[in-house]
């Protein structure tokens, strides 16, 4: 129940890019919910026990992974928009 279905959205078939995006989003759940993997004091980083700096590191890792997923999804959307088969796809909502 912990994670959303990584690729369970939209009607287009599951594409490799979507699987990668899904894995990027899923990875933090595995890393973080496996508490036993980081529940220790050593090694310390500038005096901070492993338990804390490791989780803080995951903030950055998770942000980077989400960024990758975002890039992938955006590229997919741009591709879908150019495809003539999909008249519903509109506009340039992400024109920036």
């Amino acid at each position: 129940m912990s994670a959303p279905p990584p690729t369970g959205k939209g009607h287009p078939a599951v594409t490799p890019a979507r699987i990668v995006a899904g894995l990027c989003l899923f990875a933090p759940f595995v890393g973080i919910l496996w508490v036993d993997s980081y529940a220790r004091i050593e090694p310390r980083l500038i005096g901070v026990p492993f338990f804390y700096w490791y989780q803080m590191l995951w903030v950055l890792v998770s942000a980077a992974l989400t960024m990758v997923a975002y890039r992938i999804v955006r590229r997919e959307q741009a591709g879908a928009r150019r495809a003539p088969a999909e008249p519903e796809a509109t506009g340039s909502g992400e024109a920036r």
Partner: protein, 565 residues
Amino acid sequence: MNGGVNGVALAVFVFFFLLVTVMGFRAARWRKAADEHSLDEWGLGGRSFGTWITWFLLGGDLYTAYTFVAVPAAIYAAGASGFFAVPYTILVYPLIFTFLPRLWSVSHRHGYVTTSDFVRGRFGSKGLSLAVAVTGILATMPYIALQLVGIQAVLDVMGVGGSESTHWFVKDLPLLIAFGVLAAYTYSSGLRAPALIAFVKDALIYLVIAVAIIYIPIKLGGFDDIFAKAGDALSQKNPATGKPRGELASGNQAQWAYGTLAIGSALALFMYPHSITATLSGKDRNVIRRNTTILPLYSLMLGFLALLGFMALAAGITVDNGQLAIPQLFEDMFPDWFTGVAFAAIGIGALVPAAIMSIAAANLFTRNIYKDFLKPHATPAQETKVSKLVSLLVKVGALVFVLGMDKTVAINFQLLGGIWILQTFPALVGGLFTRWFHRWALLAGWAVGMVYGTVAAYGVAGPAQKHFGGSNAEIPGIGETGYIGVTAFVLNVAVTVVLTLVLRALKAPDGVDETRPEDYTADAVPAGPGSGDHDSARDGNGARNEDGTRDGDADGAEVAATTAN
């Protein structure tokens, strides 16, 4: 606490408080829209906010007295277990990345303002919609209560009101004044007030965190010393129970609790009406996803703030009420004037979310209870009026929680709200992806989750009270201690799935689904030429101001200008 009023700190605090009050009232004129009496306008800021403002608003949801007072206090009280707030905020973003854009799109297409609107439209069930609305309002109250507790902690340490005074009126007067000001500007300016004040709040908070995280460790002799001393303090045995106070890394028996608290809180956060409000006020679909990539900055700050709990331990702060630990640490460490700045950051950091939360709960009441059940033909002006009044009532409800619950473990306020709000997850997120769940099954699952969660939480005794003393209990069948909200959620899902199978087999009547698959991926209609035909696809209740013309980059510039000051 130290006896006497800290005059300098109080003066600085009052200065900032007055500043945001003026801003709050002036906010009504900021980015003013055509139709100011519509609920879209008061409650969603006209749905015009770009990435940056949405970021500040969403940050306002996460960055509350919860992070500044409750989480460090939890660490101060018990060590590692309080740090679950960091994994919680890590998991939130990948999670919302998957479903919030869909909610934004379908809400934009159909003019939904609340989660209840969506649930009613998706499942054609007023009962389910009512359940979601009632849960949202109920769960928001303890969360607002947490904010009030945060403000009270600051006032207490400054020596105004609080526990020292014996007379109940003097004791609570400063809190009531803060509360009154909050209520007044929320009432007059709607969502624009907290959105504008959020800039000041965040600037103050970043300043205070940056200073605290550098200055205090230097004063305390570095992180080595801090953790050594904090470890000593945590290993002291509690004379009553004979167990150590806490630990530096989550022990074996605490890991289930740690994990379930993190995942449960993460699943719950974006079920709250106020998170959804901030989401829907964004002006296009990608505002949400772009935000999930920049919001983790807040999580990092949350982590640093959490470490303040260890610093309070290392500094030898002893307070009866754990919530006072961080304010007391600031007062002991900082010069008086900066203590005032820090306290202002905490105080305003509690006021902004409290305002957003009460607005969201009020929207929920108006849209899904008042309009659906009491007065179906209310005009937009009437709706807005009812919303404003209810935003006051919700705050009064929060006061009841403040007065009725043990304030020394404030994080429980938020966790109790989480237990309840989590039960709306299957209907909302399930509904965003599939129409398979049956509306009656969802309602039954919700009821089971609510009853189990409430009864289990009622049964937890705390140090200061017999009931609602904590949010963890044994998970039936596993035998480990975990967050009640997650257990209730699993029960909820199980009931929903089983009953859906049964109801589908019995061919029970299904509700009408007014949404279409393409609604879930639709984007905002750009203002450019050749796109006008899409406007007719939206049935925005006539209340929406149809301007897609506000430029997102202007938002960014505006924010930059505001924060630079």
